[in-house]
């Protein structure tokens, strides 16, 4: 007869193995990038224009471009996402319309990033004639991160206890006053988490900006939202596949800056969420 405890031991060993197979490579990836990228990082690398066809100099315009794009995306996506989350958590009834909205959000989250690029190209660049510009790229990224913001904000709003609303309404406040003064303030940490996660996502994506904004090589800063711009993820793609003989240090350095930016935002989001959960009074 098979010994069930031995079977259990073997099974648990394999489960641990599976976990290690995910965790160890992730650790390795981060360590390799930090180890090889760190020597490239200095003030000149961060604050200088790229030179000699990106084989020397810094990545300043790419950093600035990414900051512009991410800011634009969040300016567009945060108000719409937040109001959509308020609708879903406070106003929607359990009916077909709500079901369809939720399905649409799931689908929006699942659309391949390169399809967002196509959409941005067709709508903003060609149809609205914004051209390849920061505006087109920001709007495309904004639509892409909408589901992240809606989902996390909605969770935050829904986690505010129902009794808070009842008390406010019973004191004579209107529905909107209740949302504005009672529900929203209590949901702010969660909304912040969602916003930061959205920022991180927008900062790291390449495919949606390929045809909507990204400039291959533009060693100056953009003057207006109708300008093209460089961006970190696209810059990393370009120097690692399109330009031959780029010093490995520059590639790793760029990867490190991008990774740090994105992981830092995610870490902040995780910490806010963790702190908030601990401190929650209800």
């Amino acid at each position: 007869m098979r010994n069930p405890y031995r079977t259990q031991k073997i099974a648990f060993f394999f489960l641990l193995l599976a976990t290690l197979l995910i965790v160890v490579p992730v650790g390795l990836i981060v360590v390799i990038i930090i180890q090889k990228g760190l020597p490239a990082i200095n003030w000149q690398f961060l604050a200088d224009m790229p030179r000699q066809g990106m084989r020397a100099g810094g990545i300043f315009p790419a950093i600035i471009g990414t900051i512009y794009l991410v800011t634009g995306a969040i300016i567009f996506a945060l108000p719409i996402g937040l109001l959509a989350a308020i609708y879903l958590s406070e106003y929607s009834k359990d009916n077909l319309l709500t079901r369809i909205i939720k399905l649409a959000i799931v689908n929006l989250a699942g659309v391949p990033s390169v399809v967002y690029g196509l959409f941005g190209l067709a709508l903003f660049v060609v149809f609205f004639k914004f051209g390849a510009s920061i505006l087109s790229g920001s709007l495309t990224l904004g639509i892409m991160i909408l589901p992240v913001i809606i989902t996390t904000s909605r969770e935050a709003l829904e986690s505010v206890p129902y009794s808070f609303r009842e008390v406010s309404l019973s004191l004579g406040a209107s529905k909107w006053q209740t949302i504005r003064h009672i529900v929203l303030p209590n949901a702010i940490p969660g909304i912040l988490t969602g916003t930061i996660l959205g920022l991180g996502r927008a900062a790291g994506e390449t495919a949606p900006i390929l045809f909507t904004v990204a400039a291959f090589y533009l060693p100056r800063l953009p003057d207006s939202v109708f300008d093209q711009a460089m961006a970190l993820p696209y810059h990393l793609y370009v120097i690692s596949t399109q330009v031959p003989n780029v010093d490995e240090k520059i590639r790793y350095g760029t990867a490190l800056v991008l990774l740090t930016l994105v992981l830092f935002m995610n870490l902040v989001a995780i910490i806010i969420r963790y702190k908030f959960r601990k401190k929650k009074k209800w």
């Binding site: 648990f12 406070e90 106003y91 959000i105 391949p112 067709a122 390449t206 490995e248």
Partner: protein
Amino acid sequence: MRKFKEFIVEKLILICGLASIFFVVLIFIFLLKEGLAVFNIVSPFKFLFGKSWYPISEPPQLGILPLILGSLLVTVGAAIISIPIGVGCAVYIAEIAPPRTKETLKAGIELLAAIPSVVLGFIGMVTLVPLVKTIFHLPTGLTALSGSIMLAFMAMPTIVSIAEDALYSVPKTYKEGALALGATHWQTIWRVMLPAASSGILAAVMLGIGRVIGETMAVMMITGNAAVMPNSILIPVRTLTATIAAEMGEAVVGSEHYFALFAIGIVLFIISFAINVTADLFLHKRQ
């Protein structure tokens, strides 16, 4: 006055609530608007099942079968790697890991999900690709296999987090009942927990696969981008997504090539739509 203001605000909220539907429809409409024109040149059947993709030859040959098979090959490879590992890790996190380890592991998985695909592609290029090349003695390490391995890492966070949720939401009484009857912890997991969470796990797998099919940058950087009919996992292939990303830059707006790339976009949109709707049905069944 206040009543009026609230009326406006509430209408605004309703409009934003409907925004997601609006955007999904808008994306589809614009893909159709730009993509359907290709079917004036080539029939839908020839487009989907044509074996050669030479968009800039004269006349252009616009058959995307090699691209579909490329995507399929890479996706199946990634699924074979990521499903057992992902579900195994989910079980470990949900059932076995002590609470502290559990929090750390969950944060680690979230970090993996956050690594931009272009960074994973870059790391794949400098570590995995040379490795595959030496192990299999190939002329190039840019193969479907390298792509599958790298993409498996992009599917895993999705699979782990949704499968873990599914396991977590199995009622405690099921587990307690099985343990009380004398089953070992593993027997409980295998015979009770996994079957009870099966529809959620299935949804997790589907969403993970959806992520793989739609993945663009990493795949473009490490699969070698040869638009030929794949006959082995050790040769360069080109996926649907990589084709769009690599060629749209050169396609002239309004050309046949441009229309064809949008038509590929329609195919991708429909695939991801189907996957997401089905996965959603599975997730709903559970509740």
